[in-house]
Subunit: 210 residues, 2 copies
DNA sequence: AGATAAGTGGAGACAATCTCCGTTTTCTGA
DNA sequence: TCAGAAAACGGAGATTGTCTCCACTTATCT
């Protein structure tokens, strides 16, 4: 928000304030990467050489700081979405998007929790970007559904939340006997055998030749 | 552990110790139910009218207290497993088990987190029961796989972790646009259309007429 | 009843969050 | 260029929570 490097906004912040904000942000990114989203704010303030009050004035809550610290990764994610959107195969596009989402959710350890919280609490600083994530998921999903590549009864919300759940597990459980690929595959195909029961009263799947 | 009401163990605990343990446990169950697994231990001690030291001697960690407070629910879960095991339809049995698991994981708000942690940390007081949960999942899954009801490439670990992920989401997101049934369905069938691609190099799918 | 081992409780060390307000720094325009 | 006003700073301290330590109390055994 407030001051993008690129956007020409002159930033009404005083020079020292802008400097401090930047220091805090840089330090926060390091600490969140290193120690997860629960990194000590006190510690961040100390290392950025500002008082606690300064940190809290710039970023009134952990989530506000988190949101600011995630800006880069969000841009990266949007770029991935752009690329995925250009894939001809809508099923592959959806897969690519979900993969990118997993990457994003791994930016900081424990990130899925505040993201999930932001989905419901509409006042969260993360809320804006979260809604965007659900919307994007919706776009990819709908396109895949129109091509008969995704089940028609799945909603974007369900899919997004499931992806969040997987990300949460992987955040803590990687190398505990499972891989990201394995869980993504379960999410894609389910655990039931394909022949078990027609899951949706969907229109006859078109033959592979478009 | 230590003293089951039923098992005849005379309990080497002194009378006052046993009394205190019981008070703590009862209070803890209330607080965990009310405020989730992060309920203040200090508060629990105060309300149980014991010193902090007493609480920590009986239950050296939050997880130890949690494990003790969950004994009842675990019994209930095992009973469910018994019942599910008697179902003739192995697919339905697996579904019933996963449902019971969801119920269990909703005993206290936030429970999936320590359960997941316990899966990897082998010293956790919750570890024992967690391993049992994975084993049970395995039994149900294998049976369903033998009947061709579950995909052969899914492992119990993957399925259990996925269920944990869903439980985690539901713990916090129910009424945020999704229901438990919806997420369970996604887990069961996946998000891809059934015709998309044979998910496993499995033996030729039998024609719909069994 | 008296000895002794088991158990108690709460003071206190420590860590983290967040607020408040006296002080310092920047900005502005005369 | 230099006040004066406004903006921002920082850190002390209130608060809450976890966990330990040990002087004291209480149950148990003989």
């Amino acid at each position: 928000m407030s001051t993008d490097v690129v956007s020409g906004e002159p930033s009404r912040l005083r020079a020292d304030a802008r400097r401090n904000r930047e220091r805090i942000l840089r330090t926060a990114m390091r600490h969140f990467s290193l120690h997860g989203i629960n990194a000590s704010l006190e510690e961040i303030a100390r290392e950025a050489e500002v008082g606690a009050g300064t940190l809290y004035r710039h970023f009134p809550s952990r989530e506000a700081l988190l949101a600011a610290a995630l800006e880069d990764q969000q841009k990266e994610l949007l770029a991935c979405a752009q690329r995925a959107g250009k894939l001809a195969d809508s099923g592959a596009a959806l897969g690519a998007w979900l993969g990118a989402l997993q990457d994003y959710l791994r930016s900081f350890n424990g990130l899925p929790a505040p993201v999930l919280a932001a989905v419901k609490e509409r006042e969260s600083p993360l809320c804006l970007s979260c809604n965007a994530l659900v919307s994007l998921t919706d776009e990819f999903l709908v396109r895949a559904q129109q091509d008969g590549r995704a089940r028609a009864t799945v909603t974007a919300n369900e899919l997004f939340l499931s992806a969040l759940g997987i990300a949460w597990v992987l955040n803590r459980a990687e190398a505990c006997g499972t891989t990201r690929q394995a869980l993504e595959k379960v999410l894609a195909h389910g655990y039931l055998a394909a022949t078990d029961e027609p899951p949706a009263p969907m229109m006859t799947a078109p033959p592979p030749g478009d």
